[in-house]
């Protein structure tokens, strides 16, 4: 541990505290995004580059856009200062004390944990050469614990459907709300960055098998490209999703489940792949997942089932 770590940790805590405490909603959101970026840096420092990428792209990036967009979409009276707590002072003190106890207990608990681990993690690192992918985290995500990953993509689908049901499309609100999208800066930004983002995203997906990156990080970057296009009015919403869009949205899940179920009789286990095909299948899964994730995240932003291209 050195001074740098101590300062980073302190800064993280300060940012989180300010983010939750400032009355101004906009500042609160900005602080949260900054907090997310610093968290990404921290994770990179803590030997977790995959997660740093994911946090930057999804946690700070996608979520940041959604938060700021939501802030804009809220009517002006609700946008500014948030009401301070209506709780009586006594209860607030109680809550603060409770939180302090919680934090203290957790810190003490973490402190008491054994200094080395022996179990699934070691086993994963040892077993690594066997599966088709060389990246430990990708191996866990797509092979050892691929079941979790599969279920988690279903969560995304549910969130997308839920957002449709909330019937409060963000993109429509933004485009009707103000004219920022029409400023001349936007098309330039879009022309410059959208292709870069697309290429970066594709690279991250492809590279995920060997270096940090993967379907989620790559998908998030691809989604960012889509968001940019949407903000630049090259992409618009539509009331209903066409069949192709629907198919692409669930393609990853379908391939994942399909591969698992079709091969199950031969392999005697779900999502166990024959050695010759394992690499191919995992790549296929990863690519299709990336497409589905990117689209899902984009639709979480636009908020309506359909997408349409706008020429111009």
């Amino acid at each position: 541990m050195n001074l740098f770590d101590a300062l980073t940790a302190l800064l993280l805590v300060l940012l989180a505290w300010r983010c939750l405490i400032v009355p101004d909603l906009f500042r609160s959101i900005v602080l949260f995004v900054v907090f997310g970026l610093l968290l990404a840096l921290t994770w990179a420092r803590l030997d977790a580059p995959d997660l740093a990428l994911a946090e930057a792209a999804i946690g700070a990036g996608v979520l940041g856009v959604l938060l700021l967009g939501t802030w804009r979409a809220l009517g002006s009276p609700r946008r500014g200062e948030t009401p301070s707590s209506s709780l009586p002072a006594g209860l607030r003190v109680l809550s603060a004390a409770g939180s302090a106890v919680l934090a203290g207990a957790l810190a003490y608990g973490l402190h008491l944990l054994p200094g080395t681990g022996d179990g699934a993690g070691t086993l994963a690192l040892e077993t690594l050469p066997l599966p088709a992918t060389g990246q430990p985290v990708t191996a866990v995500l797509l092979d050892f614990r691929s079941y979790d990953t599969l279920l988690e993509t279903a969560v995304l689908l549910m969130a997308v459907v839920g957002t449709w049901l909330a019937r409060s499309p963000l993109l429509d609100a933004l485009s009707s709300e103000d004219a920022t999208a029409h400023t001349p800066v936007m098309p330039v930004l879009m022309r410059l960055f959208a292709p870069v983002l697309l290429v970066t995203g594709a690279y991250l997906v492809w590279a995920g098998a060997y270096t940090p990156g993967g379907a989620f990080q790559g998908g998030a970057v691809l989604a960012a490209a889509g968001v940019l296009l949407a903000l630049g009015r090259r992409l618009g919403t539509a009331p209903d999703a066409g069949w192709l869009l629907r198919l692409l949205l669930v393609l990853g899940v379908l391939v994942f489940i399909g591969a698992g179920l079709l091969l199950m009789p031969a392999q005697n286990a779900f999502m166990a792949y024959p050695e010759r095909w394992a690499g191919l299948i995992m790549h296929l899964v990863e690519y299709t997942l990336a497409v589905s994730i990117a689209l899902s995240l984009l639709l979480l932003f636009t908020g309506r089932p359909g997408l349409r291209g706008i020429s111009g």
Binding site: L63, S85, L106, T116, L125
Partner: protein
């Protein structure tokens, strides 16, 4: 013993802060942020845990965090859609 790790302490404090924010903040957007702070605290703790293996970081907590992030962001995105809808409903009621 894991010993004194500033990041572990930071993780614990983040959880506590988020909890406090969740209780005291009335605005739903703020409450969503608070829950995310709690989540990030937990994720940070997992990443700290992952460093204990001698042969490089433990991929299992990393996979857990990645899964956790996707779930948290999905849920938050949906939550934001609800926040917008609630605000719109309130506006319509005011009119």
């Amino acid at each position: 013993m894991m010993g004194l790790d500033v990041y572990a302490i930071a993780a614990a404090v983040l959880v506590g802060l988020g909890f406090h924010g969740l209780i005291t903040q009335p605005h739903p957007l703020k409450r969503l942020l608070a829950v995310n702070v709690v989540g990030n605290g937990v994720f940070l703790a997992l990443i700290v845990l992952a460093r204990r293996l001698p042969d490089g970081p433990d991929p299992i907590p990393h996979a857990m965090v990645l899964t956790g992030i996707v779930i948290a962001v999905s849920a938050t995105a949906f939550g934001l859609a609800l926040v917008r809808r609630q605000a719109r409903d309130a506006e319509e009621r005011d009119d």
